[in-house]
Symmetry: C2
Subunit: 708 residues, 2 copies
């Protein structure tokens, strides 16, 4: 198995090499006029300054958690070090991605001034670097730490030491992710909402107009939110899912744990290679302008190659016909069953991508209905958008339900885990499609601000429109996989308890524990309701933070317009840095409290219920809380991201000349809807993802700490 493990580590390294190689390619491209360089430098500076501050704050929080883990595990360094690895690698993926993104933006503008195909090539390469770094570092971290613990330190694969190390590594990734999603989301949407409201609506100047003092902040936000934040989010989902699948493998198949624990790593390894192959498939045919088609070509190549590769890996490891395990329902399953679960994961991915596109694309009923509703005013636009956001949860939930039941019938809990692992194994390619978005968004901004001719902006706008769709699609994918991944974590929680209870001499704390997860137990209902309220409370706090940050920006921009009347005439330069600094302070301050919510809730609920009732009731309540968080979290997150995407594209649809076009009353109403959708889809909604998983991971670590 050691050579195979080395091969997986090699695949991770290959992704990083691909990244390094492509970085060089991108950086060697020309970066345009002096004005363009100047603007790009301002964005780079702002983004770097923000991330430095954000990661400093996270480092302090991380340090505290590190120490808490050390104490909770009685100075066993394995969990604490695992936590540090997860946190550092997640931070690195986001940070490097951002560094590339803020340098690729201006080069994309330059390339777009030559041709659409060149612009697409640069922007996509920049996205692919982030994508491969996310998948590569995630896989590398997991495989290497697993190798160190098993081969290096000689722990048995199924030992608690290895399980705790992997779970703690997930916690590290999740912690960074919730901070990055929230902090980056508050920054980017504070700038976007505030800038739009005072610029577009009040002053009547276009987006990215250099006269708007919030415009650099808006472009910085694209990088720290949509690039670094999103990278941390998918790094986390990847790590958590693969780690949870490994843990589940170790618990369910004690006899041949090593094999089942290696399987998710192997899937991750081959799919990184197929993702790299897929990136070479993205190119615009001669004279073609179908950007979405070019991107989907890459995705389809990756998907098909992954299918073949997963089939080969599964056949090699398990064969297709011998029984390799038994489902919880008592039916035998084979390697073929696992492979079918893998296919199922890809099908679920495809369906969720398709549903998200339906709800957020300009070609379909939902977005058109929001655009139509804008004709009768701001109010009806928002009402229709909210209606679409709620309706948009139904089909993804059904797909997930069918996926769960099918995978479970094929290969039990491990079947579900395998399906999710396969979904996530494509993360490299999916992130590439998404991280491409902020680069083109920035490229358009730079074109506007440096006064390039209109055709350049048109080219970057065409790229940006596709970026909006891929961003919405990625969010649907991230949330769907996060919900499923969290269910795997919950399965690990229940199986862990079963394991501890079954070995009372090893784990004396659990000797008298009798946990019921029955819905007729009032502590289970209580747990469900408390879990259910967390995404609501968390989302509410996040939305308020954006509202406050945006309100502050509105006042700042109004002040600058008033004090420097030359700004609007173009004779005075706005103070861009002030807006950036204000947002940095606001985002860092506001991200801390909501991030504590998922970390502390399982501990508080356990503590209170174990005092009021007993530890069995407390463990039941915490378990039900995990499901409560997943259930409402899934609906809150899907409705927010889909609704936000629909509002955004309804505005775009009107700007394309429908319902009166730009400047009409319908357009003003659509801008209001877009503003509301901004924190929905880019702050609160996506931050619910890591929030769901942190709650689950903290509960798992709580179990491990209680077990001693």
């Amino acid at each position: 198995m050691s050579i195979a493990l080395l091969a997986v580590i090699g695949a991770g390294l290959a992704a990083i090499l691909y990244g390094a190689f492509t970085v060089n390619q991108v950086l060697s491209l020309p970066s345009g006029t002096d004005r363009m360089k100047e603007i790009a430098a301002a964005i780079q500076e702002g983004a770097q300054a923000y991330l430095n501050k954000q990661y400093t704050t996270i480092a302090i929080a991380g340090g505290v958690v590190f120490l808490v883990l050390l104490f909770a595990f009685k100075f066993d360094f394995i969990p604490a070090v695992g936590f540090a690895i997860g946190a550092v690698l997640s931070g690195a993926a986001g940070f490097i991605g951002m560094l590339v993104s803020v340098r690729a933006n201006v080069r994309t503008t330059q390339a777009a001034s030559e041709s659409l195909a060149k612009g697409l090539s640069v922007a996509f390469k920049a996205g692919a670097i982030t994508g491969m770094l996310v998948a590569g570092l995630a896989l590398l971290g997991l495989a290497a730490y697993y190798a160190i613990l098993t081969v290096g330190l000689g722990h048995a694969p199924e030992s608690r030491a290895v399980v705790n190390g992997l779970v703690a590594l997930s916690l590290g990734a999740s912690l960074i992710s919730v901070f990055a999603r929230l902090g980056g989301g508050i920054f980017t949407k504070g700038a976007d909402v505030g800038g739009d409201m005072v610029g577009k609506v009040e002053a009547g100047i276009p987006e990215d107009d250099p006269r708007n003092p919030a415009t650099i902040a808006d472009n910085v936000g694209d990088n720290v939110g949509d690039c670094a934040g999103m990278a941390a989010d998918l790094f986390e989902t990847y790590v958590v899912t693969v780690a949870a699948t490994m843990v589940l493998g170790s618990i369910l198949f004690t006899a041949n744990a090593a094999q089942f624990m290696f399987y998710p790593l192997a899937i991750g390894g081959v799919c990184i290679l197929t993702s790299i192959a897929g990136t070479y498939g993205v190119s615009l045919g001669k004279g073609s302008t179908n950007i979405m088609g070019a991107l989907y070509k890459g995705l389809v190549i990756t998907g098909v190659l992954s299918l073949v590769a997963i089939g080969i890996v599964t056949f090699q490891m398990f064969g297709f016909s011998e029984q390799i395990g038994t489902t919880e329902g008592g039916s035998p399953f084979t390697g073929l069953s696992l492979f079918l679960c893998g296919i199922l994961g890809l099908v679920v991915t495809g369906l969720i991508v398709w549903i998200t596109e339906y709800y957020t694309g300009t070609d379909y009923r939902p977005v058109k209905s929001v655009a139509k509703a804008s004709e009768s005013g701001h109010g009806t636009n928002v009402i229709q958008g909210l209606a679409v956001s709620m309706e948009a949860t139904a089909l993804p939930a059904l797909v997930i339900v069918v996926g769960i039941v099918t995978a479970y019938n094929l290969a039990g809990l491990f079947g579900i885990a395998t399906a999710v692992t396969t979904m996530l194994a494509l993360a490299g390619m999916i992130v590439a499609l998404d991280a491409f978005g902020p680069v083109t968004d920035n490229a358009g901004g730079i074109a506007e601000m440096s006064g390039l001719e209109g055709s350049v902006r048109e080219t970057t706008d065409a790229l940006d429109a596709v970026g909006n769709t891929t961003k919405a699609v990625t969010k649907g994918y991230a949330i769907g996989s996060a919900g499923l991944g969290a269910l795997v974590l919950f399965a690990a929680y229940t199986k862990d308890i079963e394991h501890f209870v079954a070995h009372p001499t090893e784990f004396p704390f659990f000797a008298d524990v009798n946990v019921s997860f029955s819905l007729s137990d009032p502590y289970v209902i209580a747990g469900l309701l408390i879990g259910g309220l967390l995404p609501y409370l968390f989302g509410g706090i996040a939305m308020q933070a954006v509202g406050r940050a945006a309100g502050a920006i509105v006042e700042e921009v109004r002040r600058q317009f008033k004090e420097k009347p030359g700004i609007m005439q173009g004779t005075e330069r706005p103070d861009y840095a002030r807006a950036v600094n204000m947002l940095t302070g606001a985002a860092i301050k506001e991200m801390v409290v909501p991030s504590m919510l998922p970390i502390l809730s399982p501990l508080v609920v356990y503590g209170i219920v174990s005092v009021v009732a007993d530890k069995s009731a407390a463990l039941s309540a915490v378990g039900a809380m995990l499901i409560g968080v997943i259930v409402t979290g899934l609906f809150v997150a899907i409705s927010m991201t889909a609704g936000g995407g629909a509002w955004d594209n309804a505005k775009k649809y009107i700007e394309d000349g429908n319902h009166g076009g730009k400047g009409s009353e319908a357009h003003k109403a659509a801008v209001t809807g877009d503003t509301v959708g901004d924190p929905y889809k880019d702050t609160a909604g996506p931050a619910v993802n890591p929030m769901i998983k942190i709650t689950n991971i903290v509960a798992l670590l709580l179990l491990a700490a209680l077990a001693g």
Copy 2:
């Protein structure tokens, strides 16, 4: 027990007598000038026409359900007749309430022109009539049908015949309720949103201005939505809770079922009398203008008297010290335990009232923050309102959690049921406080339209402002109690299955059933997710219906303004009837599809899962679905009603002269927020209540039908 049962029936009749007596009082009052009478007649005509059409449609749907029940229960008439009783009485409560309300409005205007105290007196009396009819008819229906089945037909109280009859009676009430809430809600908010958007925002004329063609429709809407719809909603919650408590009593205490089944009826009976007493406590002290204080005085009198009365009833029936049962956890409980659960129900009511006031009152942070956010624009107003709506779910959920756990520890599942029954027993008084709202709202409209002097409008506005708060508070109460009531229904579902499985010879269908409600069963997770999506889908459809209806009204009003330019000069009369007819058609058409959702879902889920897996899995999935509906339904409903209330009062707060006052940019943004909040708080949010319960009741009837 027969005399006691007669006493309960007597209490129900007393409430109806009180209603008849007060109707005479109100109708004997003067109804003002000819112009006032003319306007009131137009509102009466519109409301009557709408309700006639609504109830005709419901009668058709009800007829179908009646026949389905006949077939499903193999021509046993008991469930079908129970269903008809529930449906007819619920319809009667709403219809009579509306008849009184549309006659009391103009008399309130007339009384308000004399003094605030007189205006309050008339409006409150009108509300009290509806309140007492709701509680009286609900109790009468339950007690009388129970008496007929047990005493008249000689069925044992704990027999399936009685249980099925009571559950079917609940279904009748629920079915009317979901239709009335949806139909009335779509009507009233279509008129309100449409009228405001085109009147206030576009034409710049005040609310209720007679030049607005939608203004009569708006006033009709208050009566069919806030009065008839709300009455049907609370009738339903009352019936369902008391019936579910009776059913639970029959299942849990087979040895002395009659006593435990009579207990909720007894609580209902004495609390009707205390509610009648409380209505006499509502009066404005000489020179006082504290309307809310006057209303709360009545509520407190009812609360304190109820406490004493429930104590006496409990002591008489069970004593305080002997053990009368055992909780599911195995601890004994006494009459005193039940009494403490009753007190708990009142405390939960008080806390939920207080929390709702905090989130929707102009004196506290949430509403002020929405008003402040309006300064920076439409977008930030909506963002802040959504944030408040999400945050507002946390405390009520925690109160409910603490209530559940405490009641369960005191007296098991029956303790929870007793607490909810006590909450609902105050429904007569609570509805009185709420139904007072649409009367004063109408009174203000009539004052405006008939050109009475400003001081009259000021008096009615003062009454109306209080009406807004009581409406919000009642919704919080209705949803909290609905969530708890639904949990009692779920308990009945699980206990029913246990009962059937334990008696396989009597119920052969359940011989090989083995139901797990464990969260580690994938069918349970699937059920939870499907249940969770229902309130989202339902809410989304309801919001879209309002958006469509409002959009149609906007176009109609714009058309009338354009075709009859004399309307704005006051020389031409708008065509009020057209707007009323349009809304009637839209509301009736749009209410049907979403109403089918909760009725069909349990049947479809049961059908599909029993084919895909087996009947055990299907029953587990349906059970989990019930909890899923309750969990997300609770959050969706609370967030919608609280958010809507906050938006409404933020607008009022600005209109009181804050943040620039009426006509400022902040005010325009606040009007947008109010518009968004309208369908939130008056259509989708409250309709989720009956929707949650229908799902549960249909599942219970499904069990009964399967049992044969």
